[in-house]
Symmetry: C2
Subunit: 422 residues, 2 copies
Amino acid sequence: MKNIIVQKFGGTSVADTDKIKNVANVILKEKAKGNAVVVIVSAMGHTTDHLLKLADEVNKSPNPRELDMLLSTGECVSASLLAMALQATGNKAVSLNAAQAKIYTEKVHGSARIVDIKPESILQHINNDEIVIITGFQGIADENEITTLGRGGSDTSAVAVAAAIKAERCDIYTDVEGVYTTDPRIVPNASRLEEISYDEMLELARVGANVMHPRSVETAKQYNVPLRVRSSFKTDNLGTLILGVEEMEIRRTVTGVAADLSQLRVVVCDVPDVPGNAGKLFERLADDDISVDMIIQSYARKHNNTNDIAFTIYKNDLDRFNNVMDEIKSELGCSNIFIDDKIAKVSIVGAGMIDRPGIAALMFKTLADSDINIRMISTSEIKISCLVDEACAKDAVKALHKAFHLDSDEIAEVKGTLPDEE
Amino acid sequence: MKNIIVQKFGGTSVADTDKIKNVANVILKEKAKGNAVVVIVSAMGHTTDHLLKLADEVNKSPNPRELDMLLSTGECVSASLLAMALQATGNKAVSLNAAQAKIYTEKVHGSARIVDIKPESILQHINNDEIVIITGFQGIADENEITTLGRGGSDTSAVAVAAAIKAERCDIYTDVEGVYTTDPRIVPNASRLEEISYDEMLELARVGANVMHPRSVETAKQYNVPLRVRSSFKTDNLGTLILGVEEMEIRRTVTGVAADLSQLRVVVCDVPDVPGNAGKLFERLADDDISVDMIIQSYARKHNNTNDIAFTIYKNDLDRFNNVMDEIKSELGCSNIFIDDKIAKVSIVGAGMIDRPGIAALMFKTLADSDINIRMISTSEIKISCLVDEACAKDAVKALHKAFHLDSDEIAEVKGTLPDEE
């Protein structure tokens, strides 16, 4: 049995028929190495936006089941066109939709999770020497209900298929050249990472590096599928390999810096200091699916025997948050609620951080030296996040990137020789 | 159990989202009469052409299986949008693709025939008071292979579904107002027929009236499903009802006149008069799927003991015909082959013709009076066709339409009162 490589191509990589032909060439290069290739494709470029616009024209709040029926057509178009493009070069290829590839999900529309992939159909086509093209982003539930996986769904499809068919590696082809130490639009000499661990990638993804959706990285970690993020258009660039920390050849204390502008800060004032009152608040928010990230309960009980509770939530949960607070405000007995949406969460991430207590100190000192005020702090084993004013976010990222020696010329010294490519 | 009406809407009826909303209104009018409604839709307007263009850009001769994967997306888009449009009006609706509606075909790509429809899924949604929207033109074979039905496929889907769920009637909504006595572009006072029998419609369809594909009419005849051809945009016009001859309220001797320009005439000269020689020729043409229509073997054996054999074939079979003749010409021992593509087949059709021997005579006399030469003749129980020069086709249609009293003012007298509408 040949080694199997799974390749995933996003919407920009298959935006038009010329790009689809380019993708066919990328696939054939991998096949020429003697590997079997299974490909997951997204819908062509702006197809999904176009379909959403049509839906909006007939119904302002379209039914999620019908929306899945509609949107799932996008990947069927790109998958069949890609199979045709490969066949035009004299190669055997076949496109499979989710029912044909046997990708089963929960019966939830718009954000289903994959529950099972039966690999026999895919493997049978591989044994027949066919390049297998599978529609990303979608699955089936019950007998024939079409579901979609929600944001980042095609990446998740690719990783789940790679795990199910025991692929050697899953290559995520995209319009960026890999994972960087920080956003190159903020720090021009940010450098591409050769390797990063699943956990570091998860932290970076959560704090605003838009390369991959956390769910797909979690799935890759769960099944230990090595992921490579690389460019569809500069294929001699090997991109970034995401893998288990124990398989990494290089470990750095701090791997990356990221700024996240998607949250806002809430202060609920004068919450009476009754046991269970704060718990009641956060339980209710969880019930309404409102994620709370950083939390600070006021250090000192105030003279009137109340606490101020500050925390961050995502900006697009604000309407639902306000509804919940309207309902429970009197029950809680709090006074005012302040909202501050001009904040940014700046984070440093690194698998080697856990053994190095000086890292947090260096982060705080660096921000202080740049006159940037820290409003809240949260930490995990491989991450330290500071909440700062939105206006300071870029300066904070630049200063931290420099302080932790992540600029491209310095990184080159640290990383030494490249790991050999297969 | 309510009566079920099946409605089919073609591509022009759902060409954009405004037209889809119009279709939703047409459906709701039928529902308001107390009927359950099942709808078959084609792809939106030029979707199929657009998809074919994309396919052509990646592969000049696309694989039929992949083409079916690609084209079948068109109806999924229109079906889900139509379901959303109905839901926007507060009605329950659901779209079903071929797998969900359980429409099974042969495993042939591009021109599959429906072999079975399991009605339980459709009926279950009807019992749930949902308007059921089904993708036309497609089916599934084996476990999950997507097939398409070829030209006129959505009409066939509609009729087959109507038969499977025992619908009262199948309404084919289209961009014409019904079936006419002849093409109104040739004879401006051609009149719309209130009723026509399946067999008459089949003959008219075969001789060039483009209203419905013969396959769907054959299926309707087989299962005795009444069909109504009517306009999506002028819904107070009841169109034309196609039904069994025994159910017709009005029988006319001649129902319609049509001209077919899709054939050409072939003369194979000097075929030696050996038994089985002509049979060999036509058997070989049949093997290569080349349909032969009118045939004349020369009346008198010629002095050199050979026959000339003349027949008509379809213009788009000409390349294949030439290939066959290159192969078997020497075996047959014939001399020249003449091709004449400037011919037209002009036909009169009518279920009442069978008892009236004077009809053929009137047809020939009418053409003779117009100085139109008849090159070949063929007849069936309800049709007489004459091959004439292409340049005479329109004059022939006009003269016959007048001779058989089909002009709109005359027809009005013949037909008497209208049959009551449901």
